[in-house]
Symmetry: C2
Subunit: 157 residues, 2 copies
């Protein structure tokens, strides 16, 4: 299928009779209808740096935070521990500009391409996945440099 342009969408459907509004609603529901949120209304979102391919983090979204992500072009999540919305970078300034939103064959995971400002990880690393397992499952190795001291991250905004 080809993508639908929002601009075209509004040009075609704006001010049209009810039947057109009904069709418009059908089109705009297509994406969300293919998603499966879990029993808590959540879906995991993998965040990938579009320019490098580096996977930066994984966090959870509910439908409202996904809608906000699409509407603002900045990633918004749902914190399971704090039970509240959060925008990535709202305190640190390390925001993520959304470039693409993909979803998997089962519709139960999102893959979001972003342009990351600064460090995605609150520990000061570019990616949250800065540690790998040593050979055979024993031990741990750090695989990338810390780019910002953690105690300076929340002073930056």
């Amino acid at each position: 299928m080809e993508p639908y342009s929002t601009e075209l969408f509004h040009r075609v459907f704006s001010g049209r009779p009810t039947v057109f509004c009904y069709l418009a609603a059908q089109v705009s529901m297509t994406f969300f209808d293919q998603l499966k949120f879990d029993g808590s209304g959540l879906i995991p979102a993998i965040i990938q740096d579009q320019s490098t391919g580096r996977v930066l983090m994984m966090a959870w979204m509910n439908r409202a935070s996904l809608e906000k992500t699409i509407a603002t072009g900045k990633t918004h999540f749902w914190s399971r521990s704090r039970q509240k919305f959060w925008m990535k970078g709202e305190t640190s300034g390390h925001t993520q500009a959304v470039k693409d939103i993909a979803f998997d064959c089962d519709g139960d995971t999102l893959l979001i391409q972003v342009e990351q400002v600064g460090a995605a990880c609150h520990e000061g690393y570019r990616s949250c996945f800065y540690r790998s397992v040593g050979d055979g499952g024993a031990g741990v190795k750090v695989t990338e440099p810390q780019i910002i001291p953690p105690d300076q991250i929340y002073l930056k905004k």
Copy 2:
């Protein structure tokens, strides 16, 4: 920290008295001790194609499937719907050779680099994330070619 070699590990600890076995257990627990499995004993594993950086899929592991993944060098998961272990490619032959296992700052997500044989997706696409959202959240676009007809995937082994 530097990785510990399994070969070295066995050379050093094999056949040693109890105190060495205790130390060996401490070393081998390092990685698992930093992981947080959820209330169902599961952790999400993001699977990435090491050579291209393409995110291929996301599936769930419990500790036993992760241990099996490390021991065999092939990805093994836990099916939440079928409540059983499965090895990627066990029916299709589209296996994943493990190249690296990373984990995030919170210890609650894995990122596994693999060498993928064939299609990761049961729909015949290289990646399960073959669909993206159209502009503004309306509509869906297919972003990569189907490399194998789905009805031929499970005839290949």
